[in-house]
Symmetry: C2
Subunit: 338 residues, 2 copies
């Protein structure tokens, strides 16, 4: 490992000068700076993370917290990988690195986050899979850590957030189904206590009411966030009587199982039951193609990063004037399922 000491010895100058040269400080001779940069490149010098962050009090890394385990958030990994990519394009411009903070499925997320922030691991945090009431918000607020969340929560400590437009999705989906003649529309509730379930269901109720319809509470179905969960809930829906003539779901990772479950139960998707969901890579390759809502995940990531930077004191000058709460629009892809 070559440290700043070795580099300084090699160049026969002091470590102070080396550091200043590398960090672009003003008071260093142009020629000296050139030599330092060159030598650093040649010797493969990279400042030690611990030393630097101990001194500076910041680490230069942004953490994206997510939970591991077979039953992941409401999204698949392809979802996050795309979002990450967007986040990174912004962060890299500021020499910030993104790492995923992986909370094990058998550790309490709150405790995990507490441990992570107390250790000073990341300068800023991105939260996802926000719950109806999410204590993590208060934790980060209390520790004064800049953060943003992908998803709203009833808990609000004034932080920025970006959330998908589940209300808009509810409006468009319900309108579309009502227009097509459906009178009994069911929904599939996302698992756990995710806030988006409430947001979505509430808006569905409102829109239905505008048409003189109601959301049958018996037609709010619960499903595990997996293909198997989709298969199971399809059977449950199929066996109900009365059975809803259409289903809207906000979770995209169970739709293949759902289709198969309906088919096996003798209920043809798109014919016997209309289905509207969220985009997933498989969505358009199902038969019938899923009518679904999509968005640019990369752009979402970019926005997430920009809004995050706007609340980090050292960077916010670049991103003033950003709105702090964003409802991210989704667009409808018309399939033949509903």
């Amino acid at each position: 490992m070559t440290g700043i000491r070795q580099l300084a010895d090699y160049l026969d100058i002091s470590i102070g000068t080396v550091s200043r040269a590398l960090n672009g400080k003003a008071d260093v001779n142009a020629e000296t700076r050139r030599r330092v940069l060159e030598a650093a490149e040649k010797l493969g010098y990279v400042p030690n993370q611990s030393g630097r962050s101990l001194r500076k009090g910041s680490t230069g890394v942004v953490g994206f917290m997510m939970q591991t385990g077979p039953e992941i958030n409401s999204q698949g990994d392809a979802f996050f990988m795309s979002v990450f990519d967007g986040v990174q394009t912004v962060l890299s411009r500021h020499k910030l690195d993104l790492v995923a903070l992986l909370c094990s499925s058998n550790e309490d997320p709150y405790a995990y986050l507490q441990r992570t922030v107390a250790r000073g691991f990341a300068d800023a945090i991105i939260l996802s899979a926000t719950r109806r009431n999410d204590a993590r918000f208060e934790l980060l607020h209390r520790h004064n850590i800049p953060f943003i969340s992908l998803g709203r929560s009833l808990t609000d400590v004034g932080q920025p957030w970006i959330d998908l437009d589940f209300e808009g999705m509810a409006e468009v989906a319900i309108e579309r189904l009502v227009k097509a003649g459906h009178r009994d529309i069911g929904i599939i509730w996302p698992h756990g206590d995710l806030n988006l379930g409430y947001v979505f269901a509430d808006r569905c109720r409102e829109v239905l009411a505008e048409h003189g319809l109601t959301l049958n509470e018996d037609h709010i179905f619960r499903a595990k966030p997996s293909e198997a969960g989709g298969y199971a809930v399809a059977h449950e829906i199929a066996s109900r009587s009365p059975r809803p003539s259409a289903i809207v779901l906000v979770n995209e990772i169970l739709v293949t199982g759902l289709y198969k479950g309906f088919e096996d139960a003798g209920v043809k998707p798109g014919k016997d039951i209309a289905i509207i969901g969220r985009y997933s890579p498989q969505a358009q390759y199902l038969s019938p193609a899923l009518t679904c809502f999509t968005l640019s995940l990369r752009d979402l990531g970019i926005s997430l990063a920009e809004h995050l930077l706007s609340v980090i004191p050292d960077y916010q000058s670049h991103y003033v004037g950003q709105t702090s709460r964003v409802i991210w629009p989704m667009t409808l892809i018309e399939g033949t399922s509903g």
Copy 2:
């Protein structure tokens, strides 16, 4: 932020004693230790990561390197999340944390890794998506960083690795298809320069040869690792004449598109063309159900972590006698696709 200083002042003892008490060193009075533990809990003290790792020369974190972007590795969906979960159950027993090192799609993976290790970010690394020749191995070896890879490579620096048994998969799949009467079997090559493509294809050739058959080089198809890629390659396969009567693929993230592509081309999967692939959450919910190879991802993660620990000096005592190279078996799930 409460540091060790505050804690020591609060207890009116020296920071040295506090540190020793917290780290379970021998020479500290039982009563003193109790008081320290209690106060640490009360004040919410957690040792600062930077200070600690600067002194100790190790960070207590293991990095799992992966590339971000919409076209992820060779794996889809819940794959990594499940592996992570296994890795963590082992690491957490040693108070090690797992983070995902996210290499942006527009940064060179080698440069990224170099930067990361030089910074001293992680004590050990897990690599995935190994290439035919993978310079990252030499890099880590040179820097003397303990690591393991999920996947083999021609590049070998004596590190442990675990790889899925693609050769066994080739054997079982080819035998099965030959037994069913297939004489012209095609394969879909995974994208890029992943080593597994070579391993798999080579073994396919050998097994076919044992039956007096050959792998038609024109029937080795290339596909982008996405559902769209699956759709496209299905059309390409369908339009060939002669057309293979069976297809084996090692990439699981394009199978829905593949099915749909075949159907749209008028080639019925499982009837007009046999398909054998890798398990994915959707596999069993396709029609016909995919005949595929599966494994316990969580167990794979556990093994990965154990073998990694066996090459980290401070931990290896716990895991001696581990074989250093593992071919991880997969089991066949009989579907009706082939």
